[in-house]
């Protein structure tokens, strides 16, 4: 009787409406018992053809669409696009606008990393830290709402500067928030980041070697988690980052193997502290003056192409622009950090437990709309 029994891999569908896939992503898992033999991500559920839309709107008219590319850090997404167009046209933006950009960009980076940390905890079953993270994020949303009127899709940066000046008591409110937040972040770290139970769950799991990370073009915290010290803010400084003093946290494999889930997680937790440092410096040095360079209403960048990268919370976002000297882009491509982070999952997930795949996705901080665009 037993000779007739055949065994085969079992195919399991995960998603697209799975709570731990961070958006609408589907995974087709071939499993051997509880162990993943092959995992195939199926993306495209959130494909909104933003690149095609870009060809029919004006250069300035595309800024609100960049919000929707990555709604968790739309300030940085605005920045990436505006910087690309400014570099293409050779626009110099006023110093005050640069400082405001760094302040709001870094505030948005904190809120994005809070989501990343919180959801990673929640995927592991720790719901309490998630609530703490979202509570702190609400304060940042309040601050940014006072700046530009929106809580999620800001549409604040424009080509040539920022849309409007900071409100009168913004500096005071932000300093108050930072004083409170540094203490709150310490609490969150004590609650979960340096918690032995959490470390044991995350350490030595889903290891990405530096060679793999570079070959798959992982970017941002995922790359630095693998021990590669590369941050565009430091290594290819744009805006005023070269004038500011901050460190780049890099994964060291302190609790397990270099490049494991915990390394990627701790890099984000440490980056939050660096962002706080950056905001404090900018608030102290904030100069007065114009917030918007003189840019014509109808802009026509010169013929040619450009590829500009900026450091967003999910790594460097590259905007490829092709202009034929018309009022709208001839071709626009967005290369995002989550896209390459998704493409490495099939290789890394081989041999993991299904529950560990959830940890891997959480540690890579994949945001679905950024993958599909």
């Amino acid at each position: 009787m037993t000779a007739d029994l055949k065994t085969s891999y079992m195919t399991i569908n995960m998603g697209p409406q799975h709570p731990s896939t961070h958006g609408v992503i589907r995974f087709i898992l071939k499993t051997n018992g509880e162990i993943i033999y092959h995992c195939e991500p199926d993306i495209g559920y959130l494909h909104r053809s933003i690149e095609k839309i870009a060809e029919s709107v004006t250069w300035q008219g595309f800024v609100p669409y960049t919000d929707r590319v990555d709604y968790v850090c739309s300030m940085n997404a605005n920045w990436a696009y505006c910087l690309a167009v400014e570099k293409m046209m050779g626009i110099e933006i006023p110093e005050r606008a640069e400082y405001i950009r760094v302040i709001v960009g870094e505030l948005n980076r904190i809120s994005s990393h809070l989501i990343a940390i919180g959801t990673a905890d929640m995927d592991m079953g720790a719901v309490t830290p998630f609530v703490h993270c979202l509570r702190e994020r609400e304060y940042i949303n309040d601050l940014l709402e006072r700046v530009c009127g929106a809580r999620l899709t800001y549409n604040y940066m424009t080509i040539g500067g920022v849309a409007n000046d900071l409100p009168a008591d913004f500096i005071q409110k932000t300093v108050e928030f930072l004083n409170h937040f540094e203490f709150a972040m310490e609490q969150i770290n004590r609650l979960v980041t340096y918690n032995r139970i959490f470390i044991n769950r995350f350490a030595s799991l889903g290891v990405i070697t530096p060679e793999q990370a570079i070959n798959y073009n992982l970017v941002g915290p995922n790359l630095r988690g693998s021990g590669v010290n590369y941050d565009l803010r430091k290594d290819e400084p744009y805006s005023i980052y070269s004038k500011l003093d901050f460190d780049i946290p890099v994964g060291t494999g302190s609790e397990g193997i270099l490049g494991d889930c915990y390394d990627r997680y701790i890099v984000r937790a440490k980056e939050i502290k660096e962002s706080v440092k950056l905001i404090r410096q900018c608030l102290n040095q904030l100069p007065s003056g114009e917030i918007q360079a003189k840019v014509k209403n109808v802009i026509k960048p010169p013929q040619g192409h450009i590829y500009v990268r900026t450091e967003t919370p999910r790594g460097d976002t590259g905007y490829f622009l092709y202009s034929n000297n018309k009022t709208s882009p001839y071709r626009l491509k967005i290369r995002t950090g989550s896209f390459t982070a998704m493409s490495i999952i099939p290789e890394i997930s081989q041999g993991l437990f299904i529950a560990d795949l959830v940890a891997l996705i959480g540690s890579l901080d994949v945001v679905a709309p950024e993958v599909d665009r």
Binding site: I43, G44, P302, Y307
Partner: protein, 172 residues
């Protein structure tokens, strides 16, 4: 810091047998090579020590008149230099060698370009549509693409209201 684009161009020019052009006009300079030599030049860029382009940042295409101009953006973490490789493909032969054996990130980037432009990457292990559904007809980012009026039995023609709508004239 690593090599400048002009120095990289000199290296490629010495290595290649066919025509190599340095395009310096515009914001980003690029190096244009022929599709015939594409594979060997890319291998040269990856494996020679002075170049050592260890990552492929982006791969994309632009439909210009009757050609499809392909772009590869390479970066080297060890030398901190970058280069843009350009290759024009005629529409009657949209095929080029895949670079998935050199850079793993090329896998999905090439699938995306296949999905949206219909370029055949020779030697790609798994060339399927990535973002669009498998039964999609046509390649949307080509300039001559027509939006289908029927998809999966659903009527997609613009409604009468949207056709009769005209934006209000700007008063001055």
């Amino acid at each position: 810091m690593g090599l400048s684009v002009a120095e990289i161009f000199d290296h490629i020019n010495r290595f290649a047998n066919q025509e190599v052009i340095l395009k310096e006009e515009g914001p980003d300079p690029s190096i244009s090579i022929t599709a015939y030599e594409f594979s060997s030049v890319m291998r040269y860029l990856k494996e020679v020590r002075e170049m050592d382009f260890d990552t492929l940042m982006s791969q994309t295409a632009v439909h210009i008149d009757d050609t499809l101009v392909m772009y590869w953006h390479l970066f080297s973490y060890s030398h901190r230099h970058k280069v843009v490789i350009e290759c024009a493909l005629p529409f009657d032969d949209l095929s080029i060698d895949s670079v998935t054996t050199l850079w793993k990130s090329a896998d999905w980037l090439e699938r995306e370009t296949f999905d949206l432009f219909g370029v055949d990457f020779k030697g790609h292990p798994d060339l399927r549509r990535l973002l669009l559904p498998e039964d999609w007809v046509g390649y949307p980012l080509r300039k001559d693409y027509q939006t289908p009026m029927l998809y999966g039995g659903m009527d997609n023609t613009p409604s009468e209201i949207s056709q009769s709508f005209k934006p209000p004239k700007k008063e001055r």
